[in-house]
């Protein structure tokens, strides 16, 4: 009898394995580490994620598969094709930027270090496993490995009712979505007799006619769990509260890596497994996409700039809107003769979105160094306080809006738009165009706020800022990387009578944080460099959009 033991290609699974084992190592090390050495754990995490990213390099041929059955049709459960590699790059890179953002947060909010880094790495490992899995059981397990640590990360701030409430809301709704998904998987299994995606596709081609309704229902229900992670309407209710309640880096992580788990799972089940039922999930995803982008953008439009945490809330709703764009190529795949060609546009868009959205969150974190309210009004006249941060923030926002000089945002949107037009989804293309226009309004308003004149700063924010200025630890880090010399308030924009006002503002507020943490600066610099590089050479990610990834 042939051996039933499946061989393991350790090189192929290395990106996932390195991430998971680093997490385990961090958790165990934390138990034996003196409290003063705990900041080391953050750097171990960052090194582990960088190593995981390097492990992607030997896989670039995209032809490795492992955990294959040793009998029958030799289906594999883990495939490192170009789709998996692109999403793994997104996940590991996103987690790396999140880790850079988190170094300061963990220390300042006194979060339990070992647990925080362990949970972040575990979740990243799950999200990295997801795009490579090729059977429904591995998919669901990967989805849960990505989600379960995220609940704890959201609720990690001890004694904070908002944080606990956000975590509970996130947990309960997510568990319901997963349960529905599992029910769908069981229906699909009943109809096809297999969990491997390719075999499921074959089985769905000739389903017993009496099981047709069961199979179609299973297909639709399976999508629910992934649509939830993507925060597609109507599974988006948890998003604003969870983002506001969570520590800021965790919100950034959820908006990028959490979404990648959602869309990569959706792409796999629809395009690979449920291809014969394209006439069922195609329209469903198209309606979902239209609802998601419209709801997200309209709600983002209604955010009041002076409310607490309005900046995070706006980014949360804008991330719902962006999730709608991510769904468009997947919906288009349902109408196209060659569905696998469409998925590339989603991956390209997601890579662009990951870079600029994490960058935007990083700048929000930077502004919160001085004015911790996360209000949009805190960003007023950022240019006069910290021109470089304001310019990068403006660039990120324009990328999200899809306007030059955010060239890459524009090109990614065009790639998404083209999939809708190519597959005859004219109405969805129109809805998307309208939504891009709506989104322009709030992105541009925020950009304009950055460059507003400092005199108009609302008085409500200044007492808080002053309090921070006096209570902030005066530990000046030598060589603060973000340039922004004192006296910037006399910016060229300030003229005549406003000069007096702006210098007065400068006297009351620190023009530069007492010490901008280096990891935060590094995160912003990295995101900005990536964004500029992609804008200069969009073909780096846009070539994903042409041709098939599987």
């Amino acid at each position: 009898m042939t051996s039933l033991v499946q061989s393991v290609d350790w090189v192929a699974v290395a990106p996932v394995l390195v991430t998971a084992l680093t997490g385990l190592a961090v958790l165990v090390t934390d138990l034996f580490l003196a409290p003063r050495h705990k900041p080391l754990l953050g750097w171990v995490t960052i090194a582990g994620l960088a190593l995981a990213a390097l492990c992607l390099i030997p896989l670039t041929d995209g032809d490795r598969a492992t955990f294959c059955l040793t009998t029958g049709d030799r289906q594999c459960s883990y495939v490192a094709d170009h789709f998996a590699l692109a999403v793994q790059l997104l996940v590991v890179g996103g987690a790396l930027l999140t880790a850079l953002l988190s170094v300061t947060t963990v220390r300042r909010e006194a979060l339990p270090a070992g647990e925080y880094w362990f949970l972040l790495l575990s979740s990243a490992a799950g999200a990295a496993l997801l795009p490579a899995s090729r059977d429904l059981a591995t998919l669901i397990v990967a989805l849960e490995v990505a989600s379960l640590p995220a609940f704890a990360l959201v609720g990690l701030r001890r004694g904070d009712r908002g944080s606990a409430e956000a975590a509970l809301k996130f947990f309960l709704s997510s568990v319901v979505a997963t349960a529905v998904s599992l029910l769908g998987v069981s229906f699909v299994y009943a109809a096809t007799g297999s969990l491997h995606l390719d075999t499921v596709a074959g089985g769905l081609d000739d389903v017993d006619p009496r099981l047709n309704a069961l199979a179609a229902l299973g297909v639709v229900l399976t999508l629910v769990g992934f649509a939830f992670k993507l925060a597609a309407v109507p599974f988006h209710f948890w998003v604003p509260d969870s983002y506001v309640g969570a520590p800021l880096p965790v919100a950034a992580y959820l908006s990028v890596v959490g979404k990648s788990a959602g869309f990569s799972g959706l792409a796999l089940v629809t395009v690979v497994a449920f291809r014969p039922y394209a006439d069922t999930w195609g329209p469903a995803l198209a309606v979902l996409a239209a609802l998601t982008m419209t709801t997200g953008n309209v709600a983002a439009l209604r955010q009041r700039p002076d409310q607490p945490a309005s900046a995070v809330r706006l980014l949360a709703w804008s991330s719902v809107g962006q999730a709608g764009y991510l769904l468009v190529p997947l919906a288009a795949a349902g109408y196209h003769d060659d569905p696998e060609e469409m998925v590339g546009a989603t991956v390209a868009y997601a890579l662009m979105y990951a870079v600029v959205n994490l960058g935007a969150f990083a700048v929000v974190a930077l502004v919160a160094e001085n004015r911790p309210g996360h209000r949009l009004t805190d960003h007023r006249a950022l240019f006069s306080r910290n021109p470089l941060a304001a310019l990068t923030m403006g660039f990120f926002l324009l990328c999200l809006a899809g306007l030059p000089p955010g060239v890459i945002g524009l090109f990614a949107k065009v790639a998404v738009f083209r999939t809708a037009v190519d597959s005859g989804l004219g109405w969805l293309a129109v809805v998307m165009a309208v939504n891009v226009t709506i989104a322009l309004y709030y992105y541009l308003k925020w950009t304009a706020l950055l460059f507003a004149t400092p005199t108009t700063a609302t008085p409500t924010t200044t007492p808080a800022a002053r309090a921070t200025a006096t209570t902030a630890p005066a530990a000046p880090t030598p060589g603060t990387a973000t340039p922004g010399a004192p006296g910037q308030a006399t910016a060229p924009t300030a003229t005549g009578s406003t000069v007096a006002g702006s210098t007065a503002t400068a006297a009351r507020e620190p023009s530069v944080p007492a010490s901008v943490p280096h990891p935060l600066t590094a995160a912003i610099a990295l995101a900005a460099a990536l964004g500029v590089a992609l804008s200069g050479a969009p073909q780096l990610i846009l070539r994903l959009a042409s041709g098939t990834l599987f």
Partner: protein, 130 residues
């Protein structure tokens, strides 16, 4: 095809009995309580409205403290109960043809992960009662 169709129909017919029992159960409770509501006289006294506790007058408030340590212990127990779910099917096949040494090692890897969990609990002081 016709034969399987027949079998399937028989199979689902079996469930009609279950459905019938459920309907009869609901009806029984509804009729009993409904009839009681209609037929009984109502003459409440304070004693009648007391919570019935084995004939003894109730003591104290309806809120009570529970020791949180039990919760942590229950949690640890669940972890090791779940490992048994994996161990039992594994124990029935690992010596069979086609499995071999790798299968044996795999289970120890799994138990190793659980041991890390126990190590974590121990270092965090969960295993000490006082």
């Amino acid at each position: 095809m016709g034969a399987t169709h027949h079998v399937a129909a028989d199979y689902f017919d079996g469930y009609s009995v279950v459905g019938l029992v459920a309907v009869v159960g609901v009806l029984f409770v509804a009729v009993a309580f409904g009839a009681g509501q209609l037929l009984r006289p109502t003459a409440p006294t304070p004693e009648k409205l007391l919570t019935y506790e084995c004939g003894v007058d109730p003591v104290g408030e309806d809120w009570a403290h529970t020791q949180i340590r039990y919760y942590v212990y229950a949690f640890l127990y669940v972890i090791f109960a779940i490992d048994a779910i994996y161990l039992f099917p594994w124990a029935t096949v690992f010596a069979a043809d086609g499995f071999g040494g790798t299968t044996l090692v795999e289970m120890f890897v799994f138990i190793g992960f659980l041991a890390v969990g126990l190590l974590y609990a121990w270092k965090k002081g969960v295993l000490e009662w006082t």
